[in-house]
Symmetry: C3
Subunit: 307 residues, 3 copies
């Protein structure tokens, strides 16, 4: 089976079949990273541009490693060294990159919709590596891959997403993905961080974290952006930790075999206690490993590979 | 035929035969970037250092893509991360790079003549990727390649270069190249941006843009450095746009089949109106595509390849 | 013979046999960098992460070139673009990198001991590319390689190390290495830059540089960190240069066939006069060339190669 779309812009647009195809392909690529020779010639002669308007280690590194393991060439462009500083529009930057004939462009941008604009204007495949507070589809795909491999399925599970739901592209992509795949999704966070119409996305909001994580199979903790402390979105980091962190006391409410996820980077002691981050429920490092496999799968499928 | 020189420092030093050799070679490399597998093994085992003391997306990316399509290894060194911050002289930095035995060094530097100093001191081939207000030879070569492919020739054409002629290395390199290849070159811009002795370079200065672009086959718009607004070099961006932009009103003075060029990044609405930038005369994105081919040709010729 | 250790953290831990193995292997790799095709397939399919928390051109470039000449893939992570800015702990960053399954991590960090922490936590091989004022083992190895190739041996030679001994990881690694290999090591520098208990490391402190370099076979000048001038560690750069620089006047005290070394970047006119830096005794650029070979040797030996 082939993926019959040019771009990966969000989970919202993907069908259950497409998600399943991507996860199956990612499962098969997982093995490459454990070989002695971690390289297959699949994308030899293809070039992948990593166009990052926001700083990122893990996502950029994950895409770069994924591309190199497929033998593609990678070129990194970061905002600080780009023509952006010279006042060029994003469209002009993108058209310029297109004119150099790369095969695929991975973009992270602070503006929601930036990858979609590129996708509509450029003939190259675009992968959204995070756009504002909108979507972060590769994160949700690696999260679903992790759940599937740990739980054997996604459908029927209870997933609790905790934190700043309003501003989190990770939350949004996972809400689309997990509900689509048949999970029961609940969210919790301070009232200032829960969108008013969140039910329209098919999820149940909970005022207290305890209610959300009760009997949960999956607990997904979001990174709290500590710089928001000054914006009066929440009283203080200390109070946030007191009411919305995952810790040894409240995790007992979840299912005994629950898994704990975090997209990283973690604020230990704020949204997650160190005992939980490093504990037996945590699959946080599996997520990172699976991230390389998911990105290999997307690079492969978007350049014409079939499962 | 072989290129019998070690370095590409400026267009001024190149003969008509050398320019023709480079453009012919670039024409033949253009096809590589349109293949399914965009890679030839020509420079396997060679390493190219991109030593950029000034930020640049398009030029650095273009060189990096060119090198990778030829299977060379590329290493990027940018000023911000370099020993420059520790007060090392350019010569010492260069001698250190030489000692690591790369095959070719691409340098961009704010000081005119920096590439020439390296060329005289190092055994490696040096390509000038822009030195102060002096030369930007690869830009002029890709411009000439674009003209030749669109017009079939350069000789006999009228080329108008508009903007800050005094501070533009793009203008300087193109003036050398286009006059050498037999074009009739006129320049225009505010009086503060036209060198007094510009006629000695074989070009005709025009006070008004209308005079310059009249019957022109080629209109080359230069980027206005908006940061100069504060230096009283011109009254205001608005006034600059009013008197020296290329727009639908004045382009009718040029030949109907004229081509419009810009080295990028563009200030839309300042030196060029969006209608013109995206219009049917524009070959601006061709320039970018040809840039990769020109750089592949230079990397190939300087490492011993022949046409 | 194989290197039976996972990591290279410091010279202190290495035996004479291990140092000799590394230097012998480096000697054999030196030739690769002089070939027409400077690439061997030894590490194809391996990936090397350069994790640099401190800016560096020469060390990072040297490792990158070394890895590429062995056909490994390289991924650069620098502090400015990393999750560090988002407050992630070094351990979490490292565990994340581990989860992406690279083969080897090169780390430079301002904190002494950072590479050791990584080595104890990660299954990957770690190479210390400089940790605070602690060790810089690859520098000492390339220095010993240079001495051995110039002098035919290390044992029995007199080596003088001059400068800020207290804060220099280069000094510390070389003191461990040179004494281990049988050299007689003396050090000199302003009293504020000489550790009180330096004799315990098996070296002789000298108040005056003249005493230290007298009859020396090897003079190793350290970079003075000019930013320390303001910290009252020494009176002024001018006074430092007057009392502790190596120059044509005092070098006559050393052996006629002495060699002069400097880890770079040099402050010409401060710790070393230009005549000496560029003079016949200088092996400073040999050090750079040998640096690539030493790093190739370490990448090779740590990934399972044998001599």
């Amino acid at each position: 089976m082939k993926l019959s779309r040019k771009d990966i812009l969000g989970i919202k647009e993907l069908s259950v079949e497409e998600i399943t195809l991507i996860l199956d392909t990612a499962d098969s690529f997982l093995e490459v990273s454990t070989r002695e020779i971690k390289k297959v010639p699949t994308l030899r002669g293809k070039s992948v541009i990593n166009l990052f308007y926001e700083a990122s280690t893990r996502t950029r590194t994950s895409f770069e490693i994924a591309a190199k393991r497929l033998s593609a060439d990678t070129i990194n462009i970061s905002a600080s060294t780009s023509s952006v500083v010279k006042g060029e529009t994003l469209i002009d930057t993108a058209k310029n990159i297109e004119a150099m004939n790369p095969d695929l462009i991975v973009i992270r941008h602070s503006a929601a919709g930036a990858p979609h604009m590129l996708a509509s204007l450029l003939r190259q495949s675009i992968i959204n590596a995070g756009d504002g507070a909108h979507e972060h589809p590769t994160q949700a795909l690696l999260d679903m891959m992790t759940i599937r491999s740990r739980k054997g399925r996604i459908a029927g599970l209870k997933a609790a997403i905790i934190g700043d739901i309003t501003h989190s592209r990770v939350a949004r992509s996972n809400i689309h993905g997990l509900t689509k795949m048949g999970a029961h999704v609940v969210v919790s966070g301070p009232a200032t961080m829960l969108p008013r119409d969140i039910e329209t996305l098919g999820v149940v909001p909970c005022v207290r974290i305890e209610e959300a994580i009760k009997d949960a199979d999956i607990i997904m903790m979001l990174r709290i952006q500590t710089e928001r402390e000054k914006q009066n979105v929440f009283p203080s980091l200390r109070e946030y930790a007191q009411y919305f962190s995952l810790n040894p006391k409240n995790i007992v409410l979840a299912r005994k075999d629950c898994i704990v996820m975090h997209p990283g980077p973690m604020n230990r002691g704020v949204e997650i206690s160190p005992e939980i981050a490093d504990g037996s429920h945590s699959v946080i490092l599996d997520q990172v490993t699976n991230g390389v496999a998911v990105r290999m799968a997307l690079l492969y499928l978007l350049t014409g590979g079939n499962s």
